[in-house]
Amino acid sequence: MTRVVVITSGKGGVGKTTTSAAFASGLALRGFKTCVIDFDVGLRNLDLIMGCERRVVYDFVNVINGEAKLTQALIKDKHCENLFVLPASQTRDKDALTEEGVEAVIKELEHMGFDYVVCDSPAGIERGAVLALTFADEAIVTTNPEVSSVRDSDRILGILQSKSRRAAEGREPVKEHLLVTRYSPKRVDDGEMLSYKDVQELLRVPLIGVIPESESVLHASNQGTPAIHLKGADVADAYTDVVARFLGEERPLRYVNYEKPGLIKRLFGGK
């Protein structure tokens, strides 16, 4: 049975694509056959983050329009054996996506034996974002610890409840997970940022993880390496924990407490 997971947020720039790439890679590293689909038609980014932008020949819209076969459009990831990327089209807009088309693609992925389909949602609450969550079984709502991001996540949770197929057909609702990203324990400590507990209290959705703010994410994006592959980086550990919790394992939260630098560190610098 294929599980469809949407990575969504409402607000832009919170880390949906970074999370989609890392999360899909994490599932693949665990041995699950995974496909990650870029729903951001017209503003294609996932291929860059996954480092496969030069291998895009056919895209999601080509498949929906019957101009290419799904197998022609799927790009095999260079890091993971079991991971495939379905890139968005850069030259079209979101009206090129149809509900029937998306459904047909997801059905075909199911036939091909995929365990997980990860849908990287565009920002906003319009067509692209709604289609990305329509077929979801689970949703990872990516939220930054600030009020506007929380408000937008709340909105998208409402849309999830009303517009997903599960809601429309009266089935068990989409399982919701809260992922707090770009978290800076120091700024929380200084009172400049909401704590992850505040965010969870506002949204009332089970927390699946907290991803620390990190410069290495930028480096990883520029290199086209999903953040989960960064050896020894806190971000990679945090994403690995997220995947483990998603698969039902218990993992304590890491990188959420600020430790004041000691005297020696302050004297001799260091990060």
């Binding site: 408000r151 709340d154 909105r155 409402g158 849309i159 009303s162 809601a167 009332r204």
Partner: protein, 263 residues
């Protein structure tokens, strides 16, 4: 055809049923004037009637019109999602036109009636379309005896969602977020955070109340008397169980916000 039918099946059966209808009491018959009035009343809630059958009542007509533009009247009603099925209290010379327009003339048929059905007066008109709320639409309450129903919402209400408990109390079992809006003709009970806009007594019931175990709304209103919280929620109430009601006499209603004692 008959071969397909089982021999015992009758081609038609008659069963007794009671139909919940809306009675639209018209004081004017000019479609354009009515359109303006209905737009004013329902502008923010184009789906208020959600396809209910309606009986047009002409008892309170101001003056006897010479003719009635039935086609215009019916298309207006349909535009507001009402389905006119009949007329009553109509002068006999006009009733013929109604029959021709396909409406039943229902004089002398008793209808179990309730009070006036008025949408919330202070909902700002023409809000952007809210996401449809998964909560069940309030079923038509039994015609008689008059008993207020209760509408229960079990899932958290999210920003942008809107719920209207028509002719009923509203119970929120999972709270509501900032940017959501709940409207009830009766009281609002919120077990969980109350963070959006809460409008009770929307038809003018001054005895309606708003109760919450975790108080933090953007706006509260009872029977049109409202309060915003520009300077924040009073510290004694913020995030705590609280209770809103109207106090004062008929002319000097004031909203009273009080802590609520739980055990």
């Amino acid at each position: 055809m008959s071969a397909v039918q089982p021999p015992t099946a009758r081609p038609i059966d008659f069963r007794d049923a009671t139909l919940g209808t809306t009675v639209a009491v018209l004081r004017l018959v000019e479609p354009h004037l009515l359109a303006d009035a209905m737009h004013k009343m329902l502008g923010g809630m184009p789906d208020f009637f959600s396809g209910e059958p309606a009986i047009l009542d002409f008892a309170e007509l101001a003056g006897e019109p010479e003719r009635i533009d039935w086609a215009g009247l019916l298309s207006l009603m349909r535009r507001f999602q009402l389905q006119p099925v009949g007329v009553r209290n109509l002068a006999p010379e006009l009733a013929a036109g109604a029959r021709k327009a396909g409406l039943a003339v229902l004089d002398g048929i008793a209808l179990g009636e309730r009070g006036a059905k008025v949408p919330a007066a202070e909902t700002p008109p023409q809000r952007p379309a809210a996401a449809p709320v998964p909560a069940p639409a309030p079923a038509a309450p039994p015609a008689a005896p008059v008993r207020a129903g209760t509408m229960i919402v079990e899932r958290p209400l999210r920003s942008g969602q809107q719920v209207y408990a028509r002719g009923a109390d509203l119970v929120l079992l999972a709270g509501m977020s900032n940017g959501a809006e709940v409207i009830a003709d009766g009281s609002i009970h919120c077990y969980g955070p109350l963070r959006g806009r809460a409008i009770a007594g929307a038809q003018g019931d001054t005895t309606a109340r708003i109760l919450s175990t975790n108080f933090g709304p953007e706006i509260v209103s009872i029977a049109g008397i409202y309060k915003t919280f520009e300077n924040g929620i009073p510290a004694a109430l913020a995030g705590k169980p609280a209770h809103v009601r109207l106090t004062g006499g008929d002319r000097e209603h004031r909203l009273a916000l009080e802590p609520l004692q739980l055990d």
